[in-house]
């Protein structure tokens, strides 16, 4: 068996207008997907929903000076996604400190969404 990463891309407008019913429905579809994976004899090793790209920060390594922290997602198209970590940290400050240590030219730091029963997407 080999391992693959699935990167999920969707319009974020959906999140802006989502109703609790829509949200339940989407959760159901993800449940059905993971059942289909199991049924095919494959396995899901991990997965998370992410907060919207507007909550992202980007850490850019710069030669000869401190890494630069900016607001927003990583938007350049020359570079390609080359890997990922899921890091549990105390707060964004610690996450950004660690992203500066991460051996990559650019690291987008995006919060993982809390999808437990009493939360869901923030309006």
């Amino acid at each position: 068996m080999a391992q693959y990463m699935f990167l999920l891309f969707d319009s974020e407008e959906w999140y802006d207008n989502v109703t609790p019913e829509d949200w339940q429905q989407a959760m159901k579809l993800h449940g059905a997907f993971s059942e289909a994976v199991e049924k095919a004899g494959a396995r899901i090793l991990g997965g998370e929903a992410l907060e919207r790209s507007s909550t992202a920060s980007t850490v850019k390594q710069r030669e000869g000076s401190e890494p630069l922290v900016t607001d927003g997602p990583f938007l350049e198209t020359k570079e390609a996604l080359g890997g990922f970590y899921i890091v549990e940290a105390r707060d964004l400050d610690q996450a950004l400190e660690l992203a500066k240590l991460c051996p990559a030219g650019n690291v987008e730091v995006r919060p993982v969404m809390d999808t437990s029963a009493d939360s869901g997407p923030q309006a």
Binding site: D71, L92, L96, P111, Q122
Partner: protein
Amino acid sequence: MQVPPHRPPATAHPRAVVAAVERAHRESWSNVLSSVVRLTRDLDLAEDCTQDAFVQALRSWPDEIPANPGGWLTTVARRLALDRMRRETTLRRKLPLLIEEPGEIEQPTDPLRLVFTCCHPALAQESQVALTLRLICGLTTREVAAGLLISESTAAARITRAKKKIAAAGIPYRIPADHELPTRLDAVLTVVHLVYTAGHVAAGPELTRTELTGRAIELARLLQRLMPGETEAEALLALLLMNEARGDARMSADGELVLLADQDRSRWDTKMLAEGVSRATAALLHGHGRFALQAAVAGLHVTAPTWERTDWQQVVRMYDAMMVSWPTPIVALNRAAARSFVPGIDLCEVLAELDALGNEPALRTYAYLPAARADVLARLGRTSAAADAYGEAVALTTNEAERRFLGRRRAALSR
């Protein structure tokens, strides 16, 4: 009615109440709000409760204006927040976190924590400015919009988006650790400086919006008070005071812009200047950061008897030092402009420097570059080139008073 001595009157005059609430809003807003944020960790909830506490003050203070208005407001706002949190269904999960020591209701460092949250580098700088005006200065969205000359909906969007990011991304409510402090403090001071600049060279018809410059100075005072050992905070306050002290003289009786070179120095606010100069001197004893160096330049200007007798050599030396630690095109432009006044300087050399700066993308829409070129060209006797450069500057400025001023300089060339 005879009021017994040593006792406050039973009721306060309505005008006195409004004045007291307004004063408390100005002096205590950030203290109250930041204390409630520490309790709720939720900016919107904290803001609502702080707002409601001020509304309650208008209702309760006619009976008696409290001796400590800020403390009264904090107590009321925190009680409102606790009530609202109790009503929320998540109470059971959050309750253990709410139990605090009695002594912790007001912590002097609370406003500072909130400042560092508002000016976090993971927020866009334009959001940092809007959020600081809203949360630390207590301006309404409409006032923020008016101050920054953006639409109310743009201001609201910036503030909302920043608050959402703070909550979702987990931007902490704390004072940065010592090793982070220099860069984080620089971001905060930059925001305060931007607030001041937005008010000082306001785009649009009026030259200054004193409301905004006043708020910036209050912010700088707050930072200086909360971080007495930080020389850059003291230097920023010094710089703003020395700029503000010249405010009246920047405008002629008929509302026209007057350059530093032509200002009536007797119209400067000597008390404010004295404070600025003494703070700048204190800051320069301990550091040479970029605000300390800018304060040094301002100090050299305000202590000179006339424009001509300014110590231009020393001004240039300050810009030289700035170019080492903070080599931006704007510093290079200011340095070149200062060099043009050094006695015996070769103006052609300065002009070449200014021309080279024309290639800087950051200066492409900056009106001061063609204005500085025009001034040097005029002094070299190259009148028609100077007129063209003034024309470029006129086209770039967004400030009405500046536009008229540059137009007058251009017209004066042909005389």
